[in-house]
Amino acid sequence: MAVTTPTAPQSGRHPVAPRRIGGGFLDPKMLWTSLPDALKKLDPRVQLRNPVMFVVEIGSLLTTYSALAHPSIFAWTITGWLWLTVVFANLAEAVAQGRGKAQAATLRKTRTQTVARRLTSWAPGSAGSETEIAATELKLGDHVVVEAGQIIPGDGDVVEGVASVDESAITGESAPVIRESGGDRSAVTGGTRVLSDRIVVRVTTRPGETFIDRMIALVEGAARQKTPNEIALNILLASLTIVFLLAVVTLQPLAFYSDAPQSLVILVALVVALIPTTIGALLSAIGIAGMDRLVQRNVLAMSGRAVEAAGDVNTLLLDKTGTITLGNRRASEFVPVPGVEIAALADAAQLSSLADETPEGRSIVVLAKEEYRLRGRELHDATFVEFTARTRMSGVDLSDGTVIRKGAATAVMKWVREHGGHPTEQVGQVVDAISASGGTPLVVAQVRSGQAQVLGVIHLKDIVKDGIKERFAELREMGIKTVMITGDNPLTAKAIADEAGVDDFLAEAGPEDKMALIKKEQEGGKLVAMTGDGTNDAPALAQADVGVAMNTGTSAAKEAGNMVDLDSNPTKLIEIVQIGKQLLITRGALTTFSIANDVAKYFAMVPAMFAGVFPGLGKLNILHLHSPASAITSAIIFNALIIIALIPLALRGVRYTPSSASALLRRNLWIYGFGGLVIPFAGIKLLDLVIQYLPGMGH
């Protein structure tokens, strides 16, 4: 086996995401292209899912019947606009789904007609025999071989080889990524393309259930289920609809008694104006668009429930590495113990790290090369010892009998003692000094010619990301506690935690510790979000309320979490939380707006209906609308147009800047509550100024 000197570790590929959460903007053309879909949704069976719009549709049918029986310009105008109200609502949903469909179409292209080269009876070390079958015929546990230029036929784990893979089909990122057997970067996704080398992949997902399939279903909105908050809101809207329906139905006997019976058209118009059509029409579009916003950020949520839960999160468990600190720790210094040449230490450190594929290992090789001109070399007849959680050391056994080990201070010193060496006090002092400064000490030791000795310490340093401290302050204001998870010792962890400004940290954290922390938080009624990639993260990902698996991670992790980040950027958890919140805020804001609108509609419609019999009610016509017909028509047209006007908002989501609950409520109440009271007064008056000149709108 040959080992090549790796390139410098990646760093800073994922800058901290922008502060404001935006969304896709509405392309006006989409309104037009979605129209056929909108018309298809007029099917009452489709409408039945949305009680508010179902009532509008039934009302439209009634007015149509009434307009046919007693035709008048007024009746037909109202009827027309009622139908438009339903169409506009459908349009909102269709546009939201349409955006997903475009993405789905792109994804589908990758899926068509992939040929799989199945290896039968493959086993480690034995090549097996190859047959070509269609990708759709693959079964769980099949092994396939993929070579440069070929498309990976299904989701799976690399079991042999290493390759660079172009995952742009799903992530949109053109830079290739490395996928290799073993470790936490073994997962490959069907539909992505191998650029170099050859890998053998064990298929872990049935055809039709692959990642891309799920992604397609998700962006198309086909798999969309109503989330708990959406259901609760629907219940509220349905009950308001029933109340207003009752209020209007029972109004007719009262109107008869008052010698002011109302026509069916007017009664239907009143119901439609009162029931919360604005939010009713946009509710499903808001939900679809919320998922869509996640997809645009390359996050795949397995359910809307998870997105909502993200908005509710109380505690964020953030892996130090990659989230809080830049990339990985880097070797920054070699500190030899007295009596050891620094070059000797650098040499031993490099030798022990040549086969160490971890970023830290690579950075040691690089540091040695850059500072001490030590070239990477190929070693023959050397045995590399991998790092394990048990030994907490890695190293190399050279052919001349020299054994080099590097690792955690306690582990390495114990090893030295076991081999008859006596670590000096200075080692401990150096280790403590590095720890205290927030760095990680790696002790390097060797046994050469039966002599065990500590050579020195490698100083591994974490670099905290720019701007991360401010982000944590924002989260704190939003009421979210951040907990840094790290395998470091408490001293190191504390130094970094302080520097990054996290609320708490979990040091020397193993998978069980993470799990215990999550359970503890949840017992206190808190919702916990975390990211993870390794197989040993899987239980914690499953336990967390929001578990975001990295796309680079293992299949087990991706199965356990309820979201997958295709960019594998742990910082995105913060964005996911914000998108979850924005989704809820958009619903709440439009509900408030919708209900507040009713006040103005009443002032337009009730005087129009009854001022003829009770002139005193004319005093309520504070807008001085032209005539009863124009007043009612204006209210209904406003009611329909406001839906169209708010589609962009529904798709984009209301503006959300992280701040405290009180600040958010004050702002949204002001804009959507007070705005909802005032805007329709202005809108209805303006419409009335125009339509009073239309025929049939006179006194």
Partner: protein
């Protein structure tokens, strides 16, 4: 002192008295509802009744117990009214007709106390004190019991138990209603309210006429009638009758009594959920609604709009000289905002918009401060709806006092919000469509419509006051009214119970900076707005054809 200044002062004195009692009474109520210790007499009574005082009930058993005592309550009261001529002190009054007895029994058991009969010439003394007044105690306690389940729903964690109805019922009666009523009854007698079981005796007046004076156990019933927000008086004229309410002092005291439990329960709530601020927020909304409504009503009556009032020079038709307009408006507002329904003036003769305010108060759902217990749970339901909308607007699954408002909770809250308007609007619609029902109107035009809307508004919301010109003692009104009162009382209670059960099962989410603060002025304002807008939107068309059509012309 001018009428206006005196009016403000007596309202101010009332606010002061209520503010003083807020803490001690609220804390005492919390103690009653949470103390693990039983009185010896209580233990004896539990054995007598045959209930396990240590059992903690699920919401469904609790509410079934509420329904059980209500069902037997209706049956017993119905029987007493039917056969009252065979009881002692019957004064020669015959048994009540069946449909009137049904209406009256439902009315008193549901804490409504709508009266389609005239007390002094329908009922003997025994039927009044051993029949009707008993339900004044029980129905008042039941309201607090149901409110207690909801509070416990917020307090308890991962539990399916909401308390023991029998313990709550007995304690509220023995520790609160009975002793307080007793003291207050004596105060009322000392202030001139009658209390005599002697046969009505006839006096010869100065000019040789004859008056037959009916007395009865008036002071003892008056005390619980106000304290328990019942409102069913001994006399037809209710609290305008000088024997029930002889002077402005007793009048003020009665207003205080009918408000005091309702206004103190938020303290109980705050104490039990462990945050006095939450109680202050709720009581603030109640107080703002009450103060605003009082001010508007007083202003409208003092202005005296309306033809007859203009002609006479003031809106004194249906008001007593000893109270004048401010004390009448104060009573009218307080009684309609508390589900009491006692009256010291005839609301039917109020100015159109003044009477409309009384009607609007009732339609608010009896939440400011509302009936004993029912006002608190009504306001808490509105708070839940407000929390839901506001909670979404801060980007979290809405939660109130650490309990999430999920679909299950929303379902029960929505059903609660829906139940009463459905009852009120449906029955009003039916009545306005039925000629036989319309013929009961005392007034024509929009005012007649207001009488009908007021009637079902009052019965559906368990208020019990009336635009009393309406002749309610007909088969239609007795039967539909009984039904409206029953549905208007127990449907909401069932939903509150279910909600309590659902909340109790939840864990408690700790508050953070991201949690909607439900004790701040912003939330108080929003809750106020939601209450007004939800009710306003529901009833605006009907109100437009009644009080608004009459009052704006």
């Amino acid at each position: 002192m001018s009428v206006a200044i005196a009016g403000w002062l007596q309202a101010g004195l009332l606010v002061l008295a209520l503010a003083i009692s807020y803490r001690p009474l609220g804390d005492y109520l919390a103690h009653i509802l949470t103390s693990p210790k039983h009185w010896r007499i209580e233990k004896f009574l539990y054995r007598l009744i045959g209930v396990d005082s240590e059992a903690d009930q699920t919401w469904s058993v609790y509410i079934r117990s509420v329904l059980a005592i209500s069902v037997v309550g209706v049956l017993l009261l119905y029987s007493i009214l039917r056969v009252q001529d065979h009881l002692m002190l019957a004064l020669g009054m015959p048994g009540m007709r069946a449909n009137l007895a049904y209406n009256t029994a439902s009315s008193f058991v549901t804490n409504t106390n709508w009266q389609n009969y005239s007390g002094e010439n329908t009922l003997g003394y025994t039927a009044q004190f051993a029949g009707l007044a008993v339900q004044n105690f029980i129905s008042a306690a039941v309201g607090i019991c149901v409110a207690a389940t909801l509070i416990r729903g917020f307090v308890r964690r991962q539990s399916d138990r909401v308390g023991n109805f029998w313990v709550d019922l007995m304690r509220l009666n023995l520790r609160l209603l009975l002793p307080f009523s007793f003291v207050l009854a004596i105060v009322l007698v000392a202030s001139g309210v009658v209390q005599s079981l002697a046969d009505p005796h006839t006096v010869t007046t100065v000019t040789g006429g004859h008056q037959t004076l009916y007395t009865g156990a008036t002071a003892s019933q008056e005390a619980i009638k106000e304290l328990g927000t019942n409102g069913g008086g001994i006399f037809n004229a209710n609290s305008s009758h000088p024997f029930e309410n002889p002077n402005a002092w007793t009048d003020w005291l009665e207003i205080y009594l009918l408000l005091v439990i309702g206004f103190s329960l938020p303290r109980t709530f705050g104490r039990m959920v462990g945050s006095q601020k939450q109680g202050y927020a709720i009581v603030s909304v109640m107080a703002l609604l009450w103060a605003g409504s009082t001010a508007i009503n007083t202003w409208l009556e003092a202005r005296g709009w309306g033809a007859a009032a203009r002609l006479a020079g003031g809106a004194m038709e249906g008001k007593e000289v000893r109270f004048g307009i401010p004390a009448s408006s104060l009573f009218a507002t307080s009684t309609t905002l508390t589900s009491t329904g006692a009256v010291n003036s005839t609301h039917d003769s109020y100015t159109p918009l003044g009477g409309g305010m009384a009607l609007f108060n009732i339609l608010l759902g009896e939440v400011a401060p509302g009936g004993t217990g029912s006002g608190l749970y009504g306001m808490l339901i509105l708070a839940i709806v407000t929390v839901f909308v506001a909670g979404l607007m801060v980007g979290r699954t809405p939660e109130y006092l650490g309990k999430k408002i999920r679909p299950a909770e929303m379902k029960y809250a929505a059903l609660y919000i829906l139940a009463t308007p459905a009852v009120v609007l449906t029955f009003t619609g039916i009545a306005m469509a039925a000629p036989s029902a319309r013929s009961s109107m005392n007034n024509t035009g929009p005012h007649g419509l207001t009488e009908v809307l007021y009637a079902f508004g009052s019965m559906g919301n368990n208020n019990g006051s009336a635009f009393a010109g309406l002749n309610g003692d007909t088969q239609f009104w007795n039967l539909t009214g009984g039904l409206a009162m029953t549905l208007g009382r127990f449907l909401p209670m069932i939903f509150v119970g279910a909600l309590a059960g659902s909340l109790a099962k939840q864990k408690q989410t700790p508050a953070s900076a991201g949690t909607l603060a439900t004790h701040k002025p912003l939330f108080v304002g929003m809750l106020l707005g939601v209450t007004l807008i939800v009710v306003g939107l529901t009833y605006f068309p009907a109100l437009a054809l009644g009080p608004l059509a009459e009052g704006l012309s």
